[in-house]
Symmetry: C2
């Protein structure tokens, strides 16, 4: 099979202990032997067996993440960038990322959590798309299992996380479109129990208050965060007796669908109806017209989550357990008359 520590020991007429210590850089071994061992290991192409090491150390050097997937084909492009960020940071620390998919809050999701944690498949978990009173937070905190979350579940628990100023970001958008002269902004949100929905909706309401624009419950619509659902929600809004002249969307994907729906009615995005997104995906700069949005450093957020989680796993209390991130307003064509 593969080269093991034994093979090296045999070749050099050393005990496996000596080899093991030489490779792990323990100080109680002569420099000469250490060098000899390292050399041999390199030549023979030795790579430690993960399973054995894990069994012995009770650590896996692996971090788990469950891709939230609603309906197969409709996906938010947020995920790719997010995962790349996590994976990159993990790789730097020689950790791997273990991935599975499950619909949020499904039995599958629960069983994956249970199985990964109980069977020691991962050392820690990353949680995304958090919900109010998210069961995962309670479960993991209860098990004293290391994890790091994107956003807060609104419980009174203190756990490591990254928070984005969603509310303020949405409020800034309302102020911006108000300045541009739009009078009747609608909001297309997501599932009610999502934390970002709470925050962004509240930001919208705050914005109305600050600018003195009227609040009309008929102008609040719901999507499932995908382009398709944004498209449909927009059609509902436009068919009303007193349609909006601006549509603020919970994320960029929804906004893409909204722009499409507007285009199909013959109206012009910007001139007739303003549209805004949230996330600042690469594509948002390439739509026609380009999309005004709130840009989050998604890649960096992914990295930061991993950083905090690893510190948590290694019990480095030095690092901050709560990182707040301020997204930036990107003003583009979709909000110009």
């Amino acid at each position: 099979m593969s080269v093991t520590i034994r093979d090296i020991a045999r070749k050099l007429n050393l005990s496996i202990t000596a080899v093991s210590r030489a490779l792990d850089g323990y100080p109680d071994i002569s420099a000469a032997t250490r060098e000899k061992v390292r050399q041999a290991a390199l030549e023979m192409g030795y790579v430690p067996n993960r399973a054995a090491r894990q069994l012995r150390r009770q650590k896996t050097d692996t971090i788990g993440y469950i891709l939230p997937v609603s309906s197969p084909q409709h996906t938010e492009s947020f995920h790719t960038v997010f995962m790349e960020g996590m994976s990159e940071e993990a790789a730097i620390h020689r950790y791997d990322l273990l991935i599975s998919t499950a619909p949020p809050s499904s039995p599958e999701e629960q069983s994956i959590y249970q199985s990964w944690i109980q069977s020691h498949k991962v050392d820690g978990m990353i949680i995304n798309r958090i919900q109010l009173h998210d069961w995962r937070v309670h479960y993991l905190a209860g098990q004293l299992f290391p994890f790091c979350a994107l956003e807060d579940s609104g419980d009174d628990l203190d756990y490591p996380r990254v928070e984005v100023a969603n509310q303020a970001g949405m409020t800034a958008l309302v102020q911006h479109i108000h300045q541009q002269g739009y009078q009747r902004p609608a909001f297309i949100g997501g599932p009610v129990n999502l934390k970002i929905q709470q925050d962004r909706l509240q930001g919208y309401l705050d914005g109305l208050q600050i600018t003195g624009l009227p609040y009309d419950p008929l102008l609040v619509e719901t999507s499932d965060l995908t382009g398709i659902s944004g498209y449909l929600a927009c059609q509902r809004l436009l068919s009303s007796n007193f349609p909006p002249d601006a549509i603020l969307c919970i994320n960029d994907d929804v906004a893409f669908g909204v722009m499409r729906a507007i285009h199909e009615t013959g109206l012009r995005v910007g001139r007739d109806i303003a549209v805004t997104g949230f996330d600042g995906l690469q594509e948002s700069g390439f739509t026609t017209p380009s999309l005004t949005t709130v840009e989050q450093p998604v890649h960096e957020i992914g990295r930061e989550l991993i950083r905090i989680l690893l510190a948590e796993i290694q019990n480095q209390s030095a690092i901050e357990r709560l990182r707040r991130i301020t997204p930036s307003l990107q003003i583009r064509e979709s909000t110009q008359k």
Copy 2:
């Protein structure tokens, strides 16, 4: 720590051997004990320790995939859907997906391959974005390590893979725009050594031949598959003395950038210049105007790759090792005058 097979044995006054066999459903154990053991395991919340099992069985129930990442932020949305497909199919078979990122053909990539395979971290690999004479194919085939590839590396090796009819798809696009009355189609491709570049470029050339449209080397541009690079390539094309009246792009992301660039010059996509993509991403139906493209069942391709790989791992020679997939032409607004 956690509940082990030992704890169950102790509780039931059985040997650990008996327990192990009962749980794995071996036939040489009385139905009564088997039930008793299963019951106890359930009650005690027993989950087998993966590391121990791996060490013993020399299998990991994990499949590896390396996300090809060029420059951090510019990403192809193809990946998310692809990974979802793989992850879903893997989950069905109770396999996990292990992910890392690395630039294609980089030293990092090589070291991940080596480390994962030598250290038995995964049972098989999925290869994407294959290049001509891809080193990974040679490496894995040389090691007799199970893998499954998307596309063929053009070597004379027989290995399990999924092939999409790229060439025919691109030819169909050329024929389509010719029918629509466009006379001077350009092609924006990707890195020369990519297999899809070879195929799609050849498809373009074939298309010219069939339709009798003239070939002009000045009309062939290069991108790195991202929207940004498509944007830039398009600017180069448009600034020429004799610009194209249609632009065929190697993928949808490039096409998005191209549409953006055209829009900025004041020209109209469709009426003035046709644009086509390749992949059939969700977003392609939502751009303005919507994008004519060749749709690949990306999700299904991901699943199929896993299916074939698992059969390979389990030495089920029953299953077909080569699956050919025919993509479908999606005619939309970007190619209507």
